[in-house]
């Protein structure tokens, strides 16, 4: 039932992308998101898409694994698509295709729907390339390192990173536990498959409560185990893994700089996203 969640799952392979510095990759994903939101027309989005395909090829992660991550937010994509389709108002009467009460469908709303859903789609794919090619540990190390300056204002950077890596580490454990509790409740006659949304949500309560109780018990044991292994906070602690910025990251930096510059030029010379309507109607 809960086995097909790819998000946050590492795909082990040896590739250019896998070997990049996690800090660089995090910065690149931010640059990538900026690029997506900078893109004002379909040509710019196409450029981002090509760039993404190139990155996926470089990472040697199968496209199927990358695409699977979209499943998680498919509902969100459809939801924004429908909202945009029905409620985006057009400035020009000529472009309206269909109207009923307060719902209007126009060329603009169709374009807007496609544009926004595609943007969301690219957003998820790009971030999943990061999580597929970077181990959760490297990811938290990267975040810890990037947030280091915040220590100056007494922000608990190390604690935050540790909490994150422990949370990630417990996802599979708690997932197994959930499946076990579901089976146990089913064996006692609980019904999770039939009934409306509310009935099904209610049926989950006998799953969530034991799960919560066991999570607390685990937390307490983990605390003892960490104490027993001499954990005493960030003070006096060393790190085994060292992050190093290499030529790969430099190449990545150049590639992303090129991407963003390219998008700015495509925006400037090829107009906004609605420009194609005029081309079609002419």
């Amino acid at each position: 039932m809960l086995n097909d969640v790819t998000f946050g799952q590492y795909y082990p392979a040896k590739s250019f992308v896998h070997n990049m510095d996690p800090r660089a990759k995090i910065v690149f994903v931010i640059a990538y998101i900026v690029a997506i939101f900078l893109a004002q027309n379909f040509f710019a989005l196409a450029a981002v898409t090509l760039f993404l395909i190139f990155c996926v090829l470089l990472s040697r992660v199968p496209f199927g694994s990358v695409l699977r991550s979209v499943k998680m937010i498919l509902f969100l994509i459809i939801f924004t698509a429908v909202l945009n389709l029905f409620f985006y108002s057009s400035n020009s009467e000529l472009h309206i295709l269909w109207q009923w009460k307060f719902i209007t469908i126009s060329w603009e709303s169709i374009i807007n729907m496609v544009f926004l859903s595609f943007r969301l789609f690219l957003l998820i794919l790009g971030t999943s390339v990061l999580t597929l090619t970077t181990t959760p540990v490297a990811l938290t190390d990267g975040i810890e390192s990037l947030l280091k300056p915040l220590r100056l204002i007494r922000f608990p950077v190390h604690e935050l990173a540790l909490i994150m890596s422990i949370a990630l580490r417990f996802i599979p454990t708690l997932m197994d536990e959930t499946n076990r509790i579901i089976s146990a409740q089913k064996a006692r006659g609980a019904d999770f498959e039939t009934g409306g949304l509310i009935k099904r949500a209610k049926a989950m309560i006998p799953v969530l409560i034991p799960l919560l109780v066991s999570a607390f018990r685990r937390a307490e044991e983990l605390g003892d185990a960490m104490d027993a292994r001499c954990y005493s906070g960030a003070k006096g602690r060393t790190k085994y893994k060292k992050l190093t910025f290499t030529w790969r990251d430099l190449l990545g930096l150049l590639a992303f700089a090129a991407l963003i510059t390219g998008i700015v030029f495509l925006n400037l010379y090829l107009g906004g996203k609605f420009a194609i309507i005029d081309w079609f109607l002419k």
Binding site: V137, I166, A225, A228, K241, K242
Partner: protein
Amino acid sequence: MEAVRFENVKYSYREDGKEYAVNGVTLSIEEGQFVAVLGRNGSGKSTLAKLINALLIPSAGSVKVLGMDTSDSKKTFEIRKNAGMVFQNPDNQTVASIVEDDVAFGPENIGLAREEIGKRIDFALNAVGMQAFRTATPSRLSGGQKQRIAIAGVLAIKPRIMILDESTAMLDPKGRREVMDVIKKLNREEKMTVILITHFMEEALEADRAIVMHRGEVVMDAAPEEIFSRSDELEMYNLTLPRAAAICKRLQNAGLPIKNAFNAEELAEELCELLQKA
């Protein structure tokens, strides 16, 4: 040298100090010994374990580890460095999603240099026979393998005393054997003091000394063979004999003239001898 010394130790989980989980325990464990602590649920054996590495501080009396008093909070770190502890559930003592990062956790905490941490990981994984799994994900390993990783995580700190708090309880027979082999090897080759808390009588047979706890008190303290030959007394504390020993006792009760045997091999030998005589 004395590894652990309990001096009339009492511990209560309740604030009013009634109902002692450990009630007046005095004992001494020499360095290099392999001690099994037996007792049924609620006998205070896990509390005893937590008192050793300062996870719990005695309500009365004193616990000394390698001469350091556990109630002295300045010594806590040093005590934990020297007395490592492995818990029951391997899932609840792994902090990282990759084996080597998890093993590195302890050495990182005691502030070792990077090269030294690398060496410690090699040493610890080698000792538990898990070198091949250095970059594996613990959640995909078997129970016995996970518990060996947990042991490696403690070993990497290089403690002189290793406490195992029912560390084999959740494992299948194969996993249990794996863990016991590792523990015995550490005791023999690294001269590590081992304190094994268990409710498997078979495991106690592999120790030099067995301690039986009942209602917070030490009621028996002798070589395992001696303890298992006092089976009536054991029964009083709701403990059973190892299976082979139980069979042997029934045969003796049925009138067969054989000596006490505690494991399958000894029993088989006794029976062979008897058959040859007949």
